[in-house]
C-alpha cells in the first residue's frame, strides 16, 4: 500500500511517500504565499522523481497549517498526531515529542501505542518558534544555518529577557550596539527558546525518551540548550524536518 503525507507549514512544505512501512521518498520546499501551488509543485516533483502514478497512491493525508488547502487529501490530521506518529516510526519507544516549527512549538506526550496523551503549544506569539530564530538571524546579519556553529563558539551566553519576538529583536539590537559578540547573543537566544520549551514541557510532565522533530531540530545549538535544561539527551531522527509528513503517510496506511 502506497501512502503519501503532505505537511504544509508556515515556512516549508514537506512530502513523504511510503510503501507499507518503508520510507521511499521525502522532499522539502518553501511554502510561499500560495499553499495550493506549493503542494502541487512538490507533489508533481515527487511523482516525477519516483516514477509513481497518481493511481498508485492508495491514501493521501495532509497535515500542517495548510492541511485544508490540499484538495486531493483523503484525510486531514493535525501536525500534533502526525509528528507523534513520525517520531514513533523512528524511535518506537518514544514517550514525548518536541516539535519546533516555523509558526509554533509543541510538546506532545504519547503513550505506548503512540496515541496522544496530551499536548501543549506556545501561546499566540512567535517567541520560541522557527520564525523567532529567523527574525533574530536577520537582526544579527547571520544565515540561520550558521546559528548552530556560531552558538557552539559562545563562551558566555547573554540573557534575553524579552518574551516577545519584537521586543527580543530590539533587545538583540541593543546588545549588538553594546558590542556583545554574536556567538554569545545566539547562544542566549537558544537559551531563551529552551526556557520557553521547558515551561511548556513541565505543564504536561516530562517523560523520556524525548524525540525532537521539526526544522529547528537541525540546529545543534538549540538542541544542546534544551538538553542542558531538561538534563536528558534528545533523539533527533535524520529526517526530523519531514517527520510530520512521514507521520501523515503512516497514519494514512491505517
Amino acid at each position: 500500500m502506497i501512502t503519501v503525507g503532505i505537511d504544509i507549514g508556515s515556512i516549508t512544505t514537506k512530502i513523504a511517500l511510503m510503501e507499507g512501512k518503508k520510507l521511499l521518498y521525502t522532499d522539502v520546499s518553501l511554502s510561499g504565499y500560495d499553499m495550493e501551488k506549493a503542494w502541487q509543485a512538490i507533489y508533481k516533483k515527487m511523482l516525477e522523481r519516483t516514477g509513481k502514478k497518481e493511481s498508485d497512491i492508495s491514501f493521501l493525508v495532509s497535515t500542517g497549517y495548510g492541511r485544508n488547502n490540499v484538495s486531493i487529501s483523503q484525510k486531514k490530521i493535525t501536525e500534533i498526531s502526525c509528528h507523534a506518529a513520525g517520531a514513533k516510526y523512528f524511535f518506537p519507544k518514544v514517550k514525548a515529542v518536541i516539535d519546533i516549527g516555523g509558526q509554533d512549538s509543541k510538546f506532545i506526550r504519547i503513550d505506548d501505542t503512540g496515541s496522544i496523551l496530551d499536548f501543549v503549544m506556545n501561546d499566540k506569539c512567535a517567541a520560541g518558534t522557527g520564525r523567532f530564530l529567523e527574525v533574530m538571524a536577520r537582526a544579527l546579519h547571520v544565515e540561520i544555518d550558521d546559528f548552530s556553529t556560531l552558538s557552539g563558539k559562545s563562551k558566555k551566553p547573554v540573557t534575553i529577557s524579552s518574551m516577545c519576538t519584537v521586543f527580543a529583536e530590539s533587545e538583540v539590537i541593543s546588545l549588538i550596539a553594546k558590542g556583545e559578540n554574536r556567538e554569545n547573543i545566539i547562544a542566549g537566544i537558544h537559551d531563551s527558546i529552551a526556557s520557553r520549551m521547558i515551561s511548556m514541557m513541565k505543564r504536561t510532565g516530562v517523560a523520556s525518551p524525548v524525540v525532537m522533530t521539526g526544522g529547528v531540530s537541525k540546529n545543534i545549538g538549540m538542541r544542546k540548550a534544551i538538553e542542558k535544561k531538561i538534563g536528558m539527551t534528545l533523539n533527533v531522527p535524520e529526517q526530523a524536518q519531514v517527520c510530520g509528513a512521514i507521520g501523515a503517510a503512516i497514519l494514512g496506511s491505517g
Binding site: T78, D118, F119, V120, K124
Partner: protein
C-alpha cells in the same frame, strides 16, 4: 433612544454589523425580546427621575438595593451584548488610548470605552448612575473599576468585600467569613438608607429574596434537564437564558419565563433527566466565560466536528440563591454564605471534587478550559485542575488561551490546530473508554 439614534447616525456600518451579530446568535424571538426589554428599561430610567439607577457588578446581592427602589444596570451584561454583536474592538481600543492596559478586563474596557464615546447600552455604553455597587467575589477588577466610575460621576460607591475560600480552610473560618460579609450587608443597608433618605424596606427585601430563590430553583431544575436538551442550545442558554436571572430587572417576568420552559421540558421529557446517548459525538464541558464574539466557534468549528458544549459551571454559578429565612439577620447570613460559596469561585479542592462529579454526571469526553487573558483570577489554578483531572480520568483538556470579549485575542488558524488536536485526543479517549 436619543443616544442610540446618534450612534446609528455616527456609526451606520458598525450598527449594521451589530444587528448582523445579534441576528447570528440563533436565539428565540422571546430571548431577543428579553434583551430588548432589559435595554429599554435601562434607558427609561433617564426619564423616570423618581427611580434610582444603580450600576452593579456581577455577583452583587442586588436584592438589597432593589428593595430600596434601585434599577439594576449591569455594565458587564452590556459589554457581553456588544461582544455578541461583534462591536467591542472600537470601545476597547478607545479605552486603551485612554491608558487602560491591554491585559485589563475586556468587559471593563468595553464599558469604559463605549461610555466615554457616549455609546448606548446596546453597544456597551453605561449612563451615569445614582450609585455604584461592586463585589469582588468573582472579579478583583470590579472594585477599582466601579470606584473610578463613581469618582468620575461624583456618585457614591459601595464595595462589598467577599473573602475567597482557599483550599483546606475550616468550617470555623468559613463562619468568620460569613460574619464579616454579614456586617458589610448591614453597612449596605445603612448606606442605602442614607442615600435614599428612606428606611430599609424589609417586606420588599423578603419578597425579592424569595423571588431570587424561585428563579434560582427553577433555573437549577431546568439545568437538570440539560442532559436531555439538544446540546446545540449552549449558546442560547449562556447568552440570554441566564439573563433574567442575572439582571433581576423583572423577577416576576423571569419566573414566568423559566416556569414556561420548565413546563415545556417536563412535558417533553417527563422525569427523564438522563443523557440521550449517542446524540453528540463528543460531549464537552466549557469552563470559564464564553467567547461572546465567537458564535462560530461553538456553532461551526466545534459542532462541525461533532463536539458540543453540554455543561458549563459558569452559568450555573449564578443560580446560587437560597430561600429566605424567618428573620432579617438569618436571611442576610444565608445571602453571605451563598456569595462565598459559588462554583465560579470554588477553591481548588472543591473545584476538583465538583469537576469529578460533572465528568461522571455529564458523561464528558473532553473539557475546554478558557484561560482568559483579561481575567487572570478566573484562569489561575486551571493548570492544576487540568493536571489532576487528566491524571485521574485521562480526559482530554484543551487550554484555550484567549479572551471573553476581545476578539483580537483569538486567531482562527492557530486555534483551529489546537481544537483539531483536542478532537483527535477525544477520539482516542472515547475508544479507550469503550474498551474499558
Amino acid at each position: 433612544m436619543i443616544k442610540l439614534t446618534r450612534f446609528i447616525i455616527q456609526n451606520p456600518k458598525l450598527f449594521a454589523q451589530g444587528i448582523k451579530g445579534y441576528m447570528n446568535q440563533h436565539l428565540s424571538p422571546r430571548l431577543y425580546q428579553i434583551i430588548l426589554q432589559y435595554l429599554t428599561q435601562t434607558k427609561m430610567t433617564t426619564v423616570q427621575p423618581w427611580k434610582k439607577f444603580g450600576v452593579f457588578s456581577a455577583g452583587f446581592p442586588t436584592e438589597i438595593p432593589l428593595a430600596m427602589g434601585y434599577f439594576p444596570g449591569y455594565p458587564e451584561a452590556y459589554a457581553a451584548f456588544t461582544g455578541a454583536a461583534g462591536c467591542t474592538v472600537p470601545p476597547i481600543e478607545h479605552a486603551e488610548s485612554l491608558g487602560y492596559g491591554r491585559d485589563l478586563c475586556s468587559y471593563m474596557k468595553t464599558s469604559i470605552g463605549a461610555s466615554r464615546m457616549n455609546w448606548p447600552e446596546d453597544f456597551g455604553g453605561n449612563r451615569p448612575a445614582d450609585a455604584y455597587f461592586s463585589a469582588n467575589l468573582v472579579c478583583d477588577t470590579h472594585l477599582k473599576w466601579f470606584e473610578s466610575e463613581a469618582r468620575i460621576h461624583g456618585k457614591p460607591h459601595f464595595a462589598l468585600d467577599v473573602p475567597s475560600l482557599v483550599a483546606g480552610e475550616s468550617e470555623e473560618r468559613l463562619e468568620e467569613y460569613v460574619d464579616y460579609v454579614v456586617q458589610q450587608l448591614y453597612d449596605l443597608i445603612g448606606f442605602l438608607e442614607q442615600h435614599t433618605g428612606r428606611k430599609f424596606n424589609e417586606r420588599k427585601f423578603f419578597e425579592l429574596v424569595n423571588n431570587s430563590f424561585e428563579i434560582s430553583s427553577l433555573f437549577k431544575e431546568l439545568n437538570a434537564y440539560r442532559k436531555r436538551f439538544p446540546a446545540n442550545r449552549y449558546f442560547e442558554w449562556v447568552r440570554s437564558f441566564m439573563l433574567p436571572m442575572v439582571s433581576q430587572w423583572n423577577q416576576k417576568d423571569a419566573i414566568r419565563y423559566y416556569k414556561k420552559h420548565l413546563e415545556m421540558a417536563r412535558k417533553r421529557y417527563g422525569d427523564n433527566q438522563t443523557i440521550a446517548s449517542g446524540r453528540e459525538k463528543y460531549r464537552v464541558l466549557w469552563e470559564g466565560i464564553t467567547l461572546w464574539y465567537n458564535v462560530d466557534l461553538y456553532q461551526k468549528v466545534l459542532a462541525d466536528k461533532g463536539a458540543y458544549i453540554v455543561a458549563d459551571p459558569y452559568t450555573y454559578s449564578f443560580a446560587a440563591r437560597s430561600k429566605p429565612k424567618s428573620t432579617l439577620a438569618e436571611t442576610l447570613r444565608q445571602i453571605a454564605r451563598d456569595h462565598i460559596i459559588i462554583p465560579f469561585t470554588l477553591n481548588l479542592d472543591r473545584r476538583i471534587a465538583y469537576f469529578n462529579t460533572l465528568i461522571k454526571e455529564f458523561d464528558l469526553d473532553g473539557i475546554i478550559m478558557h484561560a482568559n487573558q483579561s481575567c487572570r483570577p478566573n484562569s489561575t489554578g486551571l493548570l492544576d485542575l487540568k493536571e489532576v483531572l487528566h491524571k485521574k480520568w485521562g480526559i482530554p483538556v484543551l487550554m484555550m488561551n484567549t479572551d471573553h470579549c476581545d476578539p483580537r485575542a483569538y486567531a482562527d488558524g492557530p486555534m483551529n490546530t489546537r481544537i483539531d488536536g483536542f478532537v483527535e485526543m477525544m477520539e482516542i479517549y472515547k475508544e479507550k473508554r469503550i474498551k474499558i
